[in-house]
């Protein structure tokens, strides 16, 4: 994913008037069906990346769809200007009642956190009420003070957390530093469901201070990953013509 435009201050500011949705391609059959209605490349298949601005009901494209902002705009200034122009047409829009922005699974969230080089926050409890209590406390941080600085997930069962090191039995809010490949993680801070706002804020700040950012560039990361036999298994087949081939350990022999 090209982030050269999305990481620019003007674009980040303009994005505050939008509901921003970032999906993981090939990780949900339902979302893949939807994405195909937004953009299909020359291959006629769902490709690795999709980019568009849509109406609030998700039905209408407000700009031409493509693979990335880089393809659609001459630069971040033009992107931000277009976003501001579109937002002006929705000046009557209401404040967003944000919810806890969890990804579909802990496995996916750990990988996405590694991609973004961010800590991952996991709400963990077998109790629906307890999870809801923790999610409510965290939601305000996810969309204000710590906006865009964490990835989020929730877990009903500890079987999802076996790859993570250092989790206490009583912890309900767990902040994890993912390894560079998002396969494992180390606990940076953890709290139980009775944590106060100040304790949560401190735990998130501590995680940001102690989180280790990846130092390797893309070619080194990929080469080392392949050497170590680390390949991502998608939920549905990859159909991108450029990088669509199966991982070496998933190839069929002729």
């Amino acid at each position: 994913m090209d982030e050269s435009f999305l990481s620019k201050a003007k674009v980040i500011k303009a994005a505050e008037a939008f509901v921003c949705v970032r999906l993981a391609t090939y990780e949900s059959a339902e979302e893949a069906q939807f994405l195909k209605t937004v953009f299909i490349g020359r291959s006629g298949q769902l490709e690795n990346t999709v980019f568009c601005i849509l109406s609030p009901d998700g039905q209408r494209r407000l700009i031409r769809a493509g693979r990335s902002p880089l393809q659609m705009f001459s630069g971040p200034d033009q992107m931000a200007a277009t976003m501001n122009r579109i937002a002006a047409n929705y000046s009557g829009a209401r404040q967003i009642k944000h919810t806890y922005p969890a990804l579909a699974t802990v496995r996916l969230a750990l990988n996405v956190a590694a991609c973004d080089q961010q800590p991952l926050v996991i709400v963990r409890s077998s109790s629906e009420d307890e999870r809801q209590q923790c999610k409510s406390k965290l939601t305000k941080y996810a969309w204000s003070d710590f906006r865009g600085q964490f990835t989020f997930a929730e877990s009903k069962s500890d079987t999802e957390l076996v790859s993570l090191k250092g989790i206490n039995k009583q912890s309900n809010i767990i902040v994890v530093d993912p390894d560079p490949y998002g396969q494992t993680g180390v606990v940076l801070s953890q709290l139980d469901s009775s944590a106060t706002d100040d304790e949560i804020s401190d735990a998130l700040n501590l995680a940001l201070l102690t989180h280790q950012e990846r130092t390797s560039e893309a070619p080194v990361h990929i080469t080392n990953g392949r050497r170590r036999g680390i390949f991502w298994k998608t939920q549905i087949p990859v159909t991108d013509p450029g990088r669509g081939g199966p991982a070496p350990n998933q190839r069929r022999r002729p």
Binding site: M1, I12, V21, L54, W143, G182, P248
Partner: protein
């Protein structure tokens, strides 16, 4: 007495510097906050009447995870 004041002064200076650093780092890292599922994002957009900035990407590069 003077040495105690000096120690307290140094402590406050270090504490304030650390707090300022956290604030500065947070500002530097400010980025777009995303909904990670279509269901949750669409619900927020419908409820608020705001347009949707949609991005989708595969969380692996040449099938190796940890990189978009």
């Amino acid at each position: 007495m003077k040495s105690r004041r000096f120690i307290i002064g140094v402590f406050l200076l270090v504490f304030c510097s650390a707090a300022a650093e956290v604030g500065a780092q947070r500002e530097l890292r400010r980025s777009i906050a995303w909904y990670g599922t279509w269901e949750s994002g669409l619900a927020a957009a419908k409820e608020s009447g705001r347009p949707i900035l949609l991005v989708s990407a595969a969380p692996h590069c040449h099938q190796v995870p940890g990189m978009w």
